[in-house]
Symmetry: D4
Subunit: 237 residues, 8 copies
């Protein structure tokens, strides 16, 4: 390890086996990246249970297979997003316990069911058509160790459906609101709660929604809510 | 139900089982959403014959099936827009009287043929290529109880075809004008009539129409007509 | 055919079966285009009190002056939109009774106060910052002979302000909703009423509103309301 | 004014100063709209040999079939653009002499080979990949009675290929230049000739050409050429 | 007020002055909006110290003045964003303790300095040119009762400047990263910490940044960070 | 000159002063550009009366001054487009006969009034607000030796105004149609004539015209007219 | 050939068979294009080993076949980009040694393996999903005679992976960095090296990457790097 | 400096003044950023004469002043880009030798005139209107120690002007081509040379150039040139 390397240089220098110039040179050459690396590594590897996420889109079946294989030896939850049935075929050979969430386009290998997050994350979707994106959020949250509640098909056109469940809104510690078309639901939810609201645009809608740009812009400009964020991570525009 | 709940609180308060403070507290806690619900419900349920509209795009066959099933028990007209043949297969099992309008991508269950609107709505389309969108408008209008006239293939390139039918234009109470390409037809129609003109852009056109953006912008900027509206509801850009 | 019709009229007139006045009348009535001309003319000239509208933007003071001068002899209400103070200086010399609505950028010469429209048009604005555009709507509606009510600063962030006035919403025959930012207010209003809602986007907002595009798209994609129209006529994006 | 004119004609006709034919003729000449109608008709019907053009995109096989059938009785050349093989199958049943230009996506029924245009139209394409669009231009020009020359694959990357044929450039009366990617070829051609150059953008190119927007903008902004036009008519962006 | 209204209905019902049916009817008619209002009001009014925020852009000096005046009687912190010096002149007459943050374009009346948030919010800016936007974030955070640290001019071009302060990054509970140009700084910060990172795009940059669209898109697509949000609230694109 | 150079090489080769190889080499090295130059020069210089056009935008007063000065010695008409009053001040010192067309932002030095074009070019504008752009077209056409007619303020909203002048439309050999807003006028004009129609979009319009993009797209997609071209040369979008 | 033509003219002139005037005339008439051609030809033909590149997209199998056939007689390396398996089938019949790089969509006929470039070109890709585009770069570089190193899957999310290989970064003479999503990797690489960095955007990413526009803009606005270029040549946006 | 610090730690460790643990600790604590810094610093500081570049846009006079002040003590050339006259006023007080290049909007303090680059960089501009951007390139190149040649006003409309100077093109080691409008000049230059061509789009042009987007896209899609890069660094779009 890095520490060992530094220690060795110091000793060699002290013993005279290494001139000052050489020690200096080696120390400068010590890739600072290693230090950086260890650090980042902590982010991802050392916190047990934190899942590795593989972005499946654009990867061949072989590429996904090899990455999963190498990860599978550790005790992490594994998530493959934007996965295809072909990806799943291969992953299942490696990890028979893998599950495929078709709507969410996600493969999950859930080795640990430990709850790591605080409180419940509520996933709200505007319409049944937005459900696939909402499911991707749910799958992601679950594999990362969160307690989840969900409220589907409570769009602005039937506001009462949402208002009826205000108690569940009130219990959530974070709310993820998935909506297409004009993307107004997060504004309405944001006006009813004081916890952070994460808005996720979908491409559901007629032609003038321009594949989700209308929803994305609506969410970026929401003025009614306490905290709005656009999680491009979870869904397509 | 809400009414029962309120009634119970009132009775308990009257009987003294509930103090004024407690009654007040409970009444305030009565989710206003319920009242709201009832209200909105009136919009959609109480006016007999008003159709329920299901947006088919992005919904699975199962989802559409279940929604239609639950609605089918009431006496409403039902409309599924952006429907696929697979959607129709399922709906037909539930409601054999269902009809599929392929061009319009719409499934219709017309339980009532009562005319609810005032006057005739005239649907005008610029070209034969715009007819599918025009048909979606016609189907929607019909299922909602309107008297309809239609005038197809009367685009700007053959202005006389439109002008020849000016009497029919004059008789309409509202005119829906469907056009692609540069979307100039609504401007021309708007210059000939004094009733509201609803402009519907379509994605018909060469590459430079950018899938209907040219038509949409043309309609949004029309300066010649009495009243222009862009009905994103009825058609794709 | 037209030729035959003309021939017949000529013959009947020659034979005395048709008076000169009647022949003239029939001939005028013939080519619908003539009617179109006359018709449009009716739109603008013959229906007393209907205002002439002058688009001020890009016109010199002289040009606006000359147009107003030539119109001022008739008894019409006159409206100059997108007018500048310099435009007004000149118009006032021609018509001392002219008024300048600075926020609305409109010059009005109101010769007749007759009410021509049916029912009340309610103009709703989301925030105080949207008021100039709302005022342009109010001024335009008034000069065209409508009864108007207005409800300002009732945006989504303070929904209760809107809900408190639901009775006034309920009384309107048409509602014009002016909003910037994410433009969600028309969706909310549309969910509460059954009359036509005309949505007017404004350019009020932070950078990500892209000068009103966010609001425009939000309104074009609204799914919660009975009837939505985008009135580009009344306001800038 | 029109009224006075009509009145005068009526009087002169009654008094015999004007024959019925002359009165009819003058009256027909009056309402510009009638002439407009007839006129447009002239555009399309009366000038023998002028082809009828049917925009195939978005039309069903039946619709195209019926339109061709009704036209086929006249002696016009017929052109169906954006046609599919299925369209062609049907058209061939109606007019066995019909030809399908697959690259150009055009069906042609060439009843007359008369040359109606003056001089040669030269169609130039930048690369072999742009040839389908160039062919659509050639087919259209031919069916409309033009003499055509063509110069393919003479893009900017091999400028000498173009320069070698400068004599053919010099002989053309109009040059149509088809190009994708950055669309610079029309600028270069325009710098070498003094006849009108019609620039036609294609969607050929890498991702950053945004399906022809780069070429379209390049052509709209060309500063080196005598006369540039963008013929959206002939090709997709 | 609402409470009084409900109380009165309860009393009249108890006393028999109101039948059960009538009481029920009145309670249902009690505009749920009022209840809604009280609720939302809690959001904003009842939590002591929570500031009222006035969006200054597009408001006249008079409008801002009147709103501040009416708020000034309560003990809230007041924030006017997108304020002009003219706005400030007026506000100072009403509240002499008001401060104007010119770079941030914000007027602040800080009545309470109580810390309401948990932990420190670190505001990081990429370059000195982004400082005005960063300052708007700082001012907003402060007036809302947060402890703040800031790190300016630590853009990607001088990565070491950021890495040098990694300890301060590590101490923050939330990090707001303000950047223009390609907006890559939030990705880098996000790779170094595990707390939420809120990315704020600015319009600083050369022409190809398209007034911040490049930064906005960069932030929306960041793949390196734990949690990214785009706070349109704090800054212009 | 080039000719002299070639002549010299030939002589030296004939006299034996230059080997065949050397002569060949020199001839190959003769910059073809010179020949090219002479050629292009013919385009611009040799055809008497053809004007030099200077694009004023972005040029300093000094730069425009020097270019005009060097051109002024020849007998060409000179046109400076996008010129400022400051440009004009300087040009007037060099050529006192220079005229400034303020609306058209053009400086003209008209040395020859010879008519070089065939037939009349008719410049049509939709509204008074589009007149500055129309004037730029008129000035450009005139300085290049064309006979011009013009028809202003004949937009689609008052179609009769255009139709009334159909005889003037019919007389033109080319028609330039200038329009903003939805840019529908060229489609209408194109439906009435058979000569080429050059469509020129302007940025006149409300916000949703996006500074002329709506008009530009409308014109690029016009389907009603014989020949449409977008002359970006003459006007801003 | 051109050289022969010139030689012949020189000889005929020397022998007196051609007068000076005639020789001059012929030499001038020698299309400078030919000279130009030879010149450009030098670019492409005379430098041995420089490959011919055929853009496969939009070309039929026949067209690609014929072009390869005519080239195959020379000793050039041949590259077909954006090639399909069908293209390859045909090319293999002509040149059995041809290889198909499926990911890169490239056909290569490598006749010469001579190294023509100086130093190593390092191709870096952000993620496994970007590999196909990186491979297109590698194939292109190789066929053109460059020494290549590659570093895949070293995106910003695992910065250490990149930093660990800094020595390989340091050895490269040019670095090509391929990235999708927010396209930040080139900025980071550019901050670590002083050689030119060529940034290649890919369309890998979630919906908000808008098919690579986010990456393209990120790269165009990079502020951290010594030299950035966007090689649209190698990859789709 | 860092080197000194490391040296000191090594010596103290060797002398026993620092235990191994402490030396290790200090070396680890030596912020790798410092190493990173030193590294980057090498980029910028150690190579004598390499200028510091300050992006002036969005910085106050004070901010620019302080940055220049702190840099002025070293012997670097200093460049302030996007500078205002006010910036210059202040900089001149600090460094009287500073020069302001108004067109280029750049302040230069040139302490060293040493040539650091290899060969000549040729800056080519399409038109006089593009000169300000070209000058920014020239100023930047000069302050960074390059030999420069420039060729202005050689746009595509007068191709011969460029071709006349082909020898100067041939001598350059890198060519920077600045162009607005359709941005075709780099394609033409790229077809004539084999050295890298760096294309710089400017916002010069009519409305349809969309402030340089047309030129930017043209350059990104150039297919005729050996190497194209878009240097957003040097110029606005």
């Amino acid at each position: 390890m890095t520490e060992d390397q530094i220690r060795k240089i110091l000793e060699q220098h002290k013993s005279g086996a290494l001139s000052s110039e050489d020690a200096l040179h080696r120390l400068r050459a010590l890739p600072f990246e290693d230090l950086g690396f260890a650090n980042v590594d902590h982010h991802r590897t050392l916190r047990q249970g934190f899942p590795e996420v593989i972005f499946g889109m654009g990867k061949t079946v072989d590429q996904v297979g090899k990455i999963v294989e190498s990860m599978h030896q550790h005790n992490h939850n594994i998530l493959v997003t934007r996965a295809t049935p072909a990806h799943f075929e291969r992953v299942k050979q490696i990890a028979p316990e893998a599950e495929f969430h078709e709507g969410a386009r996600a493969i999950v290998i859930q080795k640990s069911a430990a709850i790591l997050g605080k409180g419940t994350v509520l996933v709200v979707s505007a319409g049944t058509s937005d459900m696939a994106v909402a499911e991707e959020a749910v799958v992601t949250l679950k594999v990362m160790g969160n307690e989840i509640d969900s409220l589907y098909d409570v769009g602005v056109a039937g506001l009462h459906r949402l208002l009826d469940r205000r108690e569940r809104l009130a219990k959530a510690r974070v709310i993820i609101v998935v909506a297409g078309m004009e993307g107004a639901l997060p504004s309405v939810v944001g006006g009813l709660v004081s916890v952070p609201v994460i808005a996720v645009p979908t491409s559901v809608g007629y032609g003038a929604s321009f594949n989700g740009i209308a929803a994305l812009l609506g969410m970026l400009n929401s003025c009614a809510i306490s905290t709005t964020a656009t999680a491009q991570r979870l869904s397509p525009v």
